[in-house]
């Protein structure tokens, strides 16, 4: 069988962020490239969301496990900063899944981060924009904490980066 890049990406849809199990690594945007050599050797390139994210090692192993599960024995999974991740790389589908999970998706922005961007977050529960940033540091490196003045609930946002 000749493997294709599309086929590999479909398989990798199965691999989820261990801390946000509704979000696939493909939708998260951390799979930066898939190459298949003439000898059917599969190379998957990945990049971390945050350099200190302890889940990245787990995600890399999960990619390897998934390839093996589908009978792909010749593979290399690389983790590098060659194509650095930013939160604009989250797909539309990924953003929708985050919202359904109760995590406000990061706003698309021009990659110039200021407090204004952090302070105006839409509540994932009631869609109100009347929310307050409580702290830019949440339970994991990729989340900030906010309070909704409308539905009076704390909620988390996947941080813009």
């Amino acid at each position: 069988m000749n493997l294709t890049k599309e086929h590999i990406l479909t398989l990798l849809e199965e691999v989820k962020d261990p801390e946000i199990p509704v979000l696939s690594l493909v939708d998260l945007g951390v799979i930066t490239g898939v190459d298949i050599s003439e000898e059917n050797h599969v190379t998957v390139n990945m990049t971390p969301t945050f350099a200190g994210c302890p889940a990245m090692d787990y995600m890399k192993k999960d990619v390897e496990r998934t390839l093996e599960k589908y009978g792909i024995s010749k593979y290399t999974v690389n983790m590098s900063f060659d194509k650095p991740w930013d939160s604009n790389k989250l797909s539309e589908r990924g953003r929708q899944h985050l919202k359904e999970f109760g995590l406000a998706p990061p706003p698309k922005y021009d990659l110039i981060l200021d407090l204004d961007i952090l302070e105006h977050v839409r509540c994932p529960y009631c869609d109100s924009e009347d929310t307050t940033l409580r702290t830019p540091f949440g339970p994991t490196l990729c989340r900030s904490m906010h309070y909704c003045n409308n539905c009076r609930q704390m909620f988390e946002q996947f941080k813009p980066l």
């Binding site: 350099a51 994210c53 590098s80 981060l113 407090l115 904490m145 941080k159 980066l161």
Partner: protein
């Protein structure tokens, strides 16, 4: 490209991150409020991640693996500035140190993202986005507390005065300074310092704090080449305590 010069640069970047990351982690469970406990713990995790990124570049240049480098050297083999090894003290000192350090660090990363040495440029491009959160955090608290109660202002001012000689020590020139500048690897400590001064001044001006005349302060140099305060070795002993029980263990 002089590999020694690049290693020298990488070691000081990585060691600063590792040691300050460890100090930040000492706030876990002790923060004055829950949000600050989480903030310092998160920044610790980021910084240790950043040190790993630079130790990995060192490994690619033939140095030992990151764990060995982090856990088996003695104080006189570390290249961090003395600023980052000082004990946390009270919250006001940790906050001032965080403010002085991260405002310099983000400038280093911004400049290094333009480095002619591509591996450093790639890592710096990534990390400058993360450290932005650290800078926002520090600047917000300095602005809030630096214009709040008399006690807060007095405490921050006294910590600022105490930390400044060490903060200036961050800009200790490298043995390879001119070479790094000439080859476009790094803009150099003087350039970082000049920009740093502008940025910290802009924040301090919005508070009741006063920035002392920096010309009259002797910088605490030495850290970049293994000359440390008595506080570093106990930190390293504690950090490596578990690792040294069984250095061959798989984690």
């Amino acid at each position: 490209m002089n590999e020694q010069a690049i290693k020298d640069l990488l070691y000081k970047l990585a060691d600063d991150q590792l040691i300050l990351g460890h100090r930040n982690s000492e706030w876990t469970g002790f923060g004055p409020i829950l949000e600050e406990d989480i903030a310092f713990s998160s920044m610790a995790q980021d910084k240790i991640g950043h040190s790993l990124a630079f130790y990995t570049l060192l490994q690619e240049l033939g140095e030992a693996d990151p764990d060995t480098v982090a856990f088996t050297r003695n104080a006189n083999q570390f290249h961090n500035s003395q600023l980052v090894e000082l004990p946390n003290g009270e919250y006001d000192f940790s906050l001032i140190r965080h403010f002085l350090f991260d405002n310099a660090e983000i400038i280093r990363f911004e400049m290094l993202s333009q480095s002619s040495y591509e591996p450093i440029a790639k890592v710096a491009t990534k990390l400058k986005g993360e450290v932005k959160y650290h800078v926002l955090h520090a600047n917000t608290w300095i602005k809030n507390l630096g214009s709040s109660t008399e006690e807060a202002i007095l405490r921050l001012q006294s910590s600022l005065n105490e930390a400044l000689p060490y903060a200036l020590g961050m800009f200790e020139p490298s043995k390879y300074e001119q070479e790094l500048i000439d080859s476009g690897v790094y803009a150099g400590e003087e350039a970082v310092k000049a920009e740093w001064l502008k940025r910290i001044q802009a924040v301090i001006e919005k508070t009741e704090l006063k920035l002392p005349d920096l010309e009259s302060i002797a910088p605490r140099y030495g850290g970049r080449y293994g000359n440390h305060t008595e506080h570093l070795q106990p930190l390293l002993d504690e950090m490596a305590e578990v690792f040294k029980i069984d250095p061959t263990a798989e984690w």
